[in-house]
């Protein structure tokens, strides 16, 4: 009896702690979304209440039509789309070549690629990256970001695909080869279709990364508002001088930038959590 009472008590305590953390976690998001429905006047005079006195859609309308947000959203959408599709192709091809391919120096090249994880300098390499992109004339638009992300070889993705392909039996490859499939043909017809679950994971992780990214798209679109993706556009409002008067736009913009990610998360949260941990543990 006392045992079950103690168990029940500890369950209540756990719920209590988790609920407090839940409130702390949700609050900033909730506050932002509520703020985005306040009228500008209300924001300037009594921005400290949480729930708006009156829900208005003015901020969204203004952000969308007057403040470039339609453009920003479109930029985010196409940038993320091309990065996701491109990365799916390059990661699976790279994983396949390193796992099933047979060429001189394979292991050496693989270890060079992997070792790049340890020399990462974060945002310090942004400037040289832009300069290198300049040689190819892609330093002034989001295409630079797309090319770099797609061809830049993501070590985590490489690990995950390589490990996954290793679990596929080589007998199917051999059968395909006997039937006259080349190395490339085997990938296209046999291996790639078998990678569906993995592709979902890569797509979601890459979407999260590209949609949320700030530094790289920022340096590629500096002082060109019409090319900025959402996150860069929203943050640029803050440093634009009249920051105080554009709170309403910032709040609406923040909400616009968060909604697509949350919707995707709502439907695929298992993939998010599994994918983000799978990469880390392998590395």
């Amino acid at each position: 009896m006392s045992m079950t009472a103690r168990k029940r008590l500890s369950a209540v305590l756990i719920y209590l702690v988790l609920s407090i953390v839940f409130i702390l976690v949700i609050f900033p998001i909730f506050y932002t979304f509520m703020g985005s429905f306040k009228s500008n006047q209300e924001l300037l005079t009594s921005g400290s209440t949480i729930i708006p006195h009156r829900f208005v859609l003015d901020n969204y309308k203004q952000a969308w039509s007057l403040a470039n947000f339609e453009r920003y959203t479109w930029n985010s959408v196409y940038m993320s789309f091309f990065i996701v599709v491109g990365t799916i192709i390059t990661s699976t091809v790279a994983g396949y070549c390193f796992e099933r391919g047979n060429f001189k120096g394979k292991n050496l090249i693989f270890s060079v690629v992997v070792s790049s994880m340890f020399v990462s300098l974060g945002s310090l390499t942004l400037y040289p990256t832009v300069m290198i992109a300049k040689w190819f004339g892609i330093n002034k638009s989001l295409w630079g970001v797309i090319v770099i992300r797609v061809l830049g070889m993501n070590v985590t993705n490489l690990f995950v695909t390589r490990t996954y392909i290793r679990t596929l039996s080589t007998e199917i490859d051999d059968a395909a080869k006997i039937d006259g499939c080349s190395f490339f043909g085997t990938f296209v017809h046999i291996i790639f279709p078998l990678l569906k679950p993995l592709i979902a994971t890569i797509a979601i992780l890459e979407f999260r990364h590209s949609w949320n990214d700030y530094m790289m798209p920022m340096v590629f679109t500096m002082s060109k508002p019409e090319r900025m993706p959402l996150v860069v556009g929203v943050v640029s409002l803050k440093s634009s001088g009249e920051a105080a008067s554009s709170w309403n736009l910032m709040l609406a913009g923040t909400a616009i930038s968060m909604i697509p990610m949350m919707v995707v998360y709502l439907f695929f949260n298992r993939y998010f959590i599994e994918g983000m941990t799978a990469g880390a543990v392998k590395g």
Binding site: F22, T125, F183, T254, M276, A280, G283
Partner: protein
Amino acid sequence: MSEKALKKRGGFSIKKDSTQAVLMLLPMLLGFALFTYGPILYIIRYCLYKANDFKATYIGFDNFARLFSRDPAFWDAMLNTVILSAGKLVIEIPLAMFLAVLLNKGIKGTGFFRTTLFLPAITSTAIVGLIFSLMFASFDGIVNNILQSVGLIGRPINWMGNKWTALEMLGIASIWNNFPINMIYFLMALQSIPKEIYECADLDGVTPWRRFWNITLPMIAPIAQVVVLMAIVGSLKVSDLVLASTNGAPGGKTEVIMTYVFKYFFGYSGRSVEIGYASAMSVVTGIFLACVSFIYMKVTRRMNDVY
């Protein structure tokens, strides 16, 4: 099977296959060389130059002399980075571990909490910076308002007006943004512990605290070692959070290493472009980061072989 198949196809097609493999891989290898190692080589070259966007002159090790003797602001930024990282990780890592243990109890409804507590991790770090700087605004900010109405403070705090309160805000924002992923890592580690060990401990009447300290912690030590390393390196490399919230305010006192160097590269926030000097700072920062990882791995190597 594999060998037999290979024999059947003869040498020619093996050669053809390896050519195909190289061709398929080539675009990625070029991209990788250009955009991953290229920038590093660029930095290593230009750290010996005085350069802006238009011209570059060789000046030997002058940049390093300047960095080590005449630029206290760089070392302040480095110190800020270390203080911010240490201060927030001391809270973030235990918090993540604690929540993981709670979620691992298998109580009804933990699935809901696991899903919702993860939300900050899918929010853009720059957006997190923006949201928190709005919440911590000195005039009419929601945080000041709540603290005032609870009676913790008498007057509104000017969070961005003081180095330490600004750093506190950055730390809180960063914890909010980063604890979920660590929580999930720990949760995964906990779930990999075999249940039998706990059953044995229960038979011996071990207290919950000893159970955690002597069984759980050692069992997850190898994963925890990697998770903490990633958290340390990640927080030393913080940049977008700071750019989008304090941007160094007040007066550059909350500048972190990445934002400080970034501004020299791009002439951002009214600074003039000094590529050579920024490259020299990058080299020093890179060595610093490598040393931190190396020392960490040395110090914690015993975590890898507890069991």
